[in-house]
Symmetry: D2
Subunit: 299 residues, 4 copies
């Protein structure tokens, strides 16, 4: 199975060997688009897709994502970046080039529930989610065999109140060892410490099983049932120090009615969670998400 995936990844890299995305945030002022597109044109790039957004044309923040191709791009990465740095400085940009053929290394954190994990693994296997899923980490051993069937290393790191610090150190060491770019909490039922989060800012994606900011915190489906809502939802967001308050990447909903009990809400919710998380992760992998303040721009 691993070989097939390896071949798929190589095929993807081959098909995208000249493709990159340039991501920019900066204070808005006239001339940004002209300067950036002129720069790309002069460097022989062909723009495939370009999106931009400004919070306010006068004095707001400007965001841009440009997807382009450039012949023999991999040989020119350094030159491109060094040439662009003067533009970046003059406009006070936060910028980076993301090369499509550099496949992102992903870690998945799970507890006992498998539905979000399985959706990711499955889309990954189908080639719909392009990532290098390098490791799965869990505070329970249950999903080990499933994960290993996919040829992915599985680490069982139990977490108790007493061992939490130690466990997080082990986890961080694994993230370092596998050179992880992004961590996905696929219904990982543990609250991460500020220290852990700060070590990987905007690199941890969570799925919360409610339509935030409704039902922040624990047991959202039971509380949705008690409140008698007619629609339930799920929210995928970057993890920050504030529990369930990080920048929202994607949300999804599903209609329910009085005849659904809390178990039904959970069952339906699982399906919403799966698709919301998978979309959020895919957009992150395609460099479509820019976080600012407590929000996201999704291009």
């Amino acid at each position: 199975m691993k070989d097939l995936r390896q071949r798929k990844i190589e095929l993807f890299q081959q098909n995208n060997k000249d493709k990159a995305r340039l991501l920019i945030s900066c204070p808005d002022k006239p001339g940004i688009v002209a300067t950036v597109s002129e720069f790309l044109y002069e460097h022989g790039a062909n723009i495939i897709q370009s999106d931009q957004y400004t919070t306010d044309p006068e004095g707001g923040t400007f965001f841009m994502r440009v997807e382009f191709t450039m012949p023999n791009l991999s040989e020119f990465e350094q030159k491109l970046e060094s040439d662009f740095s003067t533009i970046g400085e003059s406009f006070k940009m936060d910028w980076h080039f993301a090369y499509a053929y550099h496949i992102k290394k992903m870690a998945i954190f799970v507890s006992k529930q498998d539905h979000c994990l399985m959706e990711l693994l499955w889309q990954w296997q189908a080639g719909d989610l392009v990532a290098d899923i390098a490791v799965v980490i869990s505070n329970h051993p249950d999903l080990g065999p499933t994960v290993e069937q996919f040829g992915i290393p599985f680490y069982h790191i139990p977490v108790t109140k007493e061992t939490k610090d130690e466990a997080e150190e082990k986890q961080l060491k694994l993230l370092e060892q596998f050179d992880i770019d992004v961590s996905v909490l696929a219904r990982y039922m543990q609250i991460l410490s500020p220290k852990f989060i700060e070590a990987q800012p905007l690199k941890i994606i969570n799925i919360h099983h409610s339509f935030l900011p409704a039902f922040i915190g624990a047991r959202p489906y039971e509380r949705a049932y008690d409140r008698g809502v007619k629609i339930i939802g799920a929210t995928s967001h970057y993890v920050t120090d504030d529990l369930d308050e990080g920048p929202i990447i994607e949300q999804g909903v599903q209609r329910v009615d009085h005849s659904y009990n809390a178990e039904d809400l959970k069952r339906i919710g699982r399906s919403v969670e799966r698709s919301v998380l998978a979309r959020a992760v895919a957009w992150h992998l395609e460099d479509r998400v820019i976080a600012y303040k407590n929000k996201t721009v999704v291009f």
Copy 2:
């Protein structure tokens, strides 16, 4: 215009002259459906639609709505109810017959915004909302001319902190005078007193401009914008003492993205509010909604 509406109502009454709905809530136990359907059969009724729900077959609460026709029903209302009362007692039912040809008298409360009011008036004029809209009450004079174009009396009752008690007394007097069955708060931007609400339990329908319980309270669209949600919504509910906490009748949502500012959210929200409120009011008018605890069963 009034005559046309009058003719529509008369036509509706003619078409529904033998139609009624029986609504029941009671402790669940075997034999309820058998007893009720046997009763209706013996009284010559033909069941058109029957819905039921139990919170728990063992010791839960049972809800039922039966829509039926019965020849010359209007002559037998009293007999039907008196005959049914023994069944009602033996099963400890909360029950009532609602006759489709008794058109409900409605009051609408508004402030300055017209979109929810207009949706109701318009659906009413089109014959999609079958009610007798007897009066519109507002704390501002602005919508008077619009309402009067529809041939409906409009009362401007200003409300200030000082005059609130007095204003509510005037409002209650109007509700009595017009023999109102249901009041709809169509973006009426005033908080009603417990006294006012208790005078008409489960007879006041509100539209809240957020997907409750997210953004309870004031300025929900601004807060939705600040939170960066990807979906906004509206909620229609019965008004109880607890602000924005009454039983939810209906909710609706609409996708948004980072490019929508607070004004855009309001504009899109208006469209969601209109349709959610209109659905909730229609269901109430068709006797489809049974409230229990802080929830609703919508058949």
Copy 3:
């Protein structure tokens, strides 16, 4: 893995050992609900859920689904059915009792694409889809190893124009051998012969990769792309002689825009197909679907 599933099925059977559904279609006339509910009450049954629908209270067709529990039901199946047969005759009913603890035996037909198959297998493994998936049949060998990982027999029966009759005979023999109740075509890219279909009326469920009746026939995503539609969909239906014209059980849709090419539509479509087919199959397994003419009633 098989033992876990076996235990889940046994647990389900244990939890549902006294539960059944009575399904009825008949000419509408007064007294049906009263007679049926009286019958169930006298036999000691407790109604959990009851749904009904009539195409026309006067002279139309009446449909009913009653879910009930009855102590020691499995010992009384025969008595129940023989007692009910007189009622059935007098109302000219098409009726049957479906016992929840009799798990339906399912066959899945696939070609090379795995997404619909995997969704079914996965929901089945999670216990969300209660069936005994007895066999998977394919005209290609590709998905054999995947299926066998789940402990399910996989039969590769190649189909060519020349061998089609012979292949269908082999398939029918397998359906008989495994005592199959329902066959699911999970993107099985072959047209079945009338003979094959007639052998199992309303027992074959298909997923069509378009929002029928739009794009009947082959290559629907390519045609949706060419037409520039703004929403794509999928349709699950019972298979009849008329290609893509059988009674629709469920449909689902997803918004798209000009930037999606035909491959994107396929990718998004896969996700719609998965969920639509899984819902349709679940409803069939729970005896919620009654077909009449070329439509379905879904209770």
Copy 4:
């Protein structure tokens, strides 16, 4: 009422006095974005929003919409266009500048049904739809009084098979007289002649009461009912010679079930039609729609 609207339009023009959109279609090749954004920058324009799409980076068609502000724009319209024409020529562009403060003149065609007309009039009155609705034309007199209440001229031009040519001539004369930019068929139940359509290419927007290409032609709700679909929809498109085959601008859907009869589908459909048409018209007015072949790009 007219004065209020006039003041709203003037306020809009004041708020948008320096805003325009540049719309471009041309063969894709490197350098377009750079050239266009450089041009705008040099002319002192500030880009607010820029969207682009290419059917294929190599040899496809490129589409672009740039929204920008420029101080004292109204004085520089001619210079801007004459300066841009050399760029337009060198890239073989189809291009035009649309100035936000030039309010588009709209004609609405109706028959007897008022729901789509009313939605447009209402959104227009609320200031959500920025157009100059100059005239309403109908083949029936019924909606005259309603339209005139809004202070809009209403012309009753009956259409029979015999008088169709003559009627269309009258209509075209009115369109000319009122200097109409866009005509909206708000459930105008007449088929227009090729001659009429060709006189205003891509300037006529229709609402079709089905989810095209399902149920092309007459009586779509009846046919949707007969087919037993589980979702109904509406489609807004530019009118071309091919009935119901013009480029689709927007579509919307709503779930239904077996209990909805054809009248219910029509009632629900009216609500879908209203919102789909209003969105399509708004996008056209904001110069967001570019038609090519038989499709649209909606920015």
